[in-house]
């Protein structure tokens, strides 16, 4: 087996106990909370009687002891079946398959935006610490970072959708427009501009500040002095020497941020009414839909594991001294 595949498989297998702990923990927490999916359903119905509630509990499999329901859920997962959503009355696998792409688009675009723009501006700011561009960029990024993402989202929506009417205010695409192919892709892209900007802006600040610090530090390292002594141009030193090294902590941050980004996406999805993964989690909580919530959390945990794996692989590529397996590659 190629080394890379071995590393990936080992890492995924290694994360299984973590996923199992997350699963059992969430299950027990949900079980301890008062009320269940039937209570939430009766609320949405505006009432019902005790026999009906009891019958529904039997039908939903909510009347057994917790360990039995947990065992049932684990058995389902083992067979590759994610179960049935009580609140939305649809198969959970289909729900996740529908909602996850929207969130991946949103998160992926926002991460790319914040990473590229943040590191680029970070290079500009870090090249001359204390200069005017640095002070402007650093100050601006701190302001951005202190803004809650939902507020930024609302402001963007009010300015660009409500006042200027340049962009759609909500949704992932025009309703029942009949668009296909490229026209549909363009439509979705238009709808994504504001939410991606709102989500990306906040993290942009973070990446900018880390890049700036890394650049400022790299600037005084021996290898940059050596490069300068060799007569390399300023930009050449900036990009291929200082920036490449300053990029390492940024990539680490990227992995850590993937979990936070998922959380931020919940908020942005609700502000911009995007039917994504975050809103699915919200609906699962509101409907006390334990099977759905478990599946959502499990998928999120898996996404974070994969993001961190990708980061580690990228780390190994950027800095060959660090092997992706956690060992030195030239041992």
């Amino acid at each position: 087996m190629p080394r890379l595949a071995r590393i990936v498989l080992a890492r995924l297998a290694g994360s299984l106990p973590v996923l199992l702990i997350v699963l059992v923990g969430v299950f027990l927490l949900l079980d301890r909370a008062g009320g269940d999916a039937v209570d939430a359903y009766l609320l949405s119905m505006g009432g019902g009687d005790a026999q009906m509630a009891a019958a529904l509990r039997t039908e939903y499999g909510l009347d057994g002891p917790a360990w039995k329901r947990l065992a049932f859920t684990l058995g389902q997962y083992a067979r590759g079946d994610l179960g049935w959503s009580l609140a939305l009355n649809r198969p959970i696998g289909a729900l996740i398959a529908e909602r996850l792409p929207n969130t991946l688009w949103l998160m992926g675009s926002a991460t790319a935006l914040s990473f590229l723009l943040g590191s680029g501006l970070g290079v500009l700011a870090g090249r001359r610490p204390g200069s005017l561009p640095d002070r402007l960029l650093s100050g601006g990024s701190l302001m951005l970072y202190s803004i809650p993402s939902f507020w930024l989202g609302l402001v963007l929506a009010i300015v660009f959708a409500v006042q200027l009417r340049w962009l759609p205010v909500s949704g992932i695409e025009t309703i029942a427009s009949g668009k296909t192919g490229l026209a549909r892709a363009a439509d979705i892209a238009r709808h994504l501009v504001l939410p991606v900007a709102a989500l990306g802006m906040i993290y942009l600040a973070l990446f900018l500040r880390i890049m700036r610090a890394g650049m400022a530090e790299a600037w005084n390292e021996d290898y940059t002095l050596a490069a300068r002594a060799r007569g390399l141009s300023d930009w050449r030193i900036t990009l291929s020497h200082a920036a490449r090294n300053a990029l390492l902590p940024l990539v680490t941050m990227l992995g850590l941020q993937s979990a936070a980004m998922l959380g931020g996406s919940v908020v942005i999805e609700s502000v911009f009414a995007i039917p994504g993964f975050g809103r699915l989690a919200q609906e699962a909580v509101a409907g006390r839909d334990a099977p759905l919530l478990l599946a959502v959390i499990l998928t999120s945990a898996l996404m974070v594991v994969i993001a961190n794996l990708l980061v580690d692989l990228a780390y190994g590529w950027l800095d060959p001294r660090v092997g992706a397996g956690g060992r030195r590659s030239r041992g």
């Binding site: 409500v162 009417r165 039917p275």
Partner: protein, 532 residues
Amino acid sequence: MLATISRRGVLTGTAALLGSTALPRRARAAAPGGRLIVAADSEPRQLNPAIVASNGVFFITSKVIEPLAEASYGPGGLRPLLATGWEGSEDGHSVTFTLREGVLWHDGTPFSSADVAFSAMEVWKPLQNIGRALFANLEAVETPDALTAIFRFSQPMPLQLIANALPVVSSVLPKHLYEGTDIATNPTNAAPIGTGPFRWGAHRPGEYYLLRGNDSYWDKGLPLLDEIVYRVLPDRAAAASSLEAGEVHLAAFSAVPLSDLDRIARVPGLEVVTKGYEALTYQLTIEINHRTEALSKLKVRQAIAHAIDRDFVLKTIFLGYAEAATGPVPANDPTFYTPDVATYPFDIATARALLDEAGYPEGPDGTRLRLRLLPAPYFSETRQFGDYLRQALAAIGIDARIEPHDAAGHIRAVYTDHAFDLAIAPTVFRADPAISTTILLRSGMPPGVPFSNQGGYADAGIDAVIDEALVTLDPAARVALYRKLQRLVAADLPIINVADWSFTSVVSDRVTGIATNPRWVVSNWADTGLSQ
């Protein structure tokens, strides 16, 4: 500041609840056709209004599946839909419905009395959340011909009650699609087929519902609209900005928070409408656990009633969009309401004196009593009133500790576990006290029945009035009994009614034919249109 609030309070509060004053609107002509885009704040688990009679389900499905009759502002309060007439027998044991001729289901099958008989016997009576109680004594539905359905009851059934209940409980399902199947899981529940002015189009979960105009609707020339799109916008801020951006024409059920209404009413092209909800009135109610020793004493309940400054509640929590309640029937019900009941003016001194008399003197720290207070979390008004009540009770020496729960946890704690002393509930009045009001007062409710008397209150006098009204056929005598019930409730306070309120809509001024009946948002919208 105060002056503007109170003036608006008087103006809009009155308009909201009396339903007689329409907001000034400019004359508009509807152009036929068009796509009306509506904000929907939730997606019901299933879309069968004959099983789940709730506003959330009606909001979408009432355009597709019609009941026998709809509420109206006109005399009698009813407008015929699938039934053109209804007549009760002398002894109250039967009601004869005459059905409309020439009605087709959306799949082309003719509608007939067999559909009504099937819906009543197989769906409303055994499965529907509200119909289960109302049709408990329904023995059979006879269909002597295709346009006649005779409902036979084992106990006398007041025609007034049946008529008042028709808009809510009588959604008719197509027998040919449901017969012999498991009705609760029939796939038609997810893509309803009815007789209404709109046909089912599509549902993209998390995004929208689409309904299309029915060109073979029985009311020729209607509907005016080509399409209705419900955009799923659970976030209130998203609903408000979508309205302002012109992406949504109508947000109903107070999708725009009260605190934003003033601002949004000034946006050109949008107006705030309080009409069209009279038959969906909510009441802000304090539910009392009578198992708690202190609360089983009338003087303590009276003290609590006196501790509430209703004027403050109306102006601060409801921003004027509500009226003070005097009892379990809201003032905007012209038939059953009576103001002739005991009232409890805001009076701290009296409240404190009552607590002294009841045997709860001030302790060394000024506290007389400690209570658990559970405000229902599903309305912002109930949560806010919980905070207010805590302060109001502190002023008379009652330490009410708020125990917050999420929606499911609240339902469980109050209605199944009875783990509360006081709870704040948004109870609903549905056109007739027998439908959803007496369940709050009648003794003997088993645990686990949401929105019923779970405080364990039991009073033989009140039970007797409720039971007598259920079998009283004469409308005038029924009304008299329910007025007596209001007096008894106000005197003994099994629950404390604080305010009557309803919803608001924010509507684009292009939309015509709005608020044309007292259940407008959950009616069929056949005559709703869009001007160009």
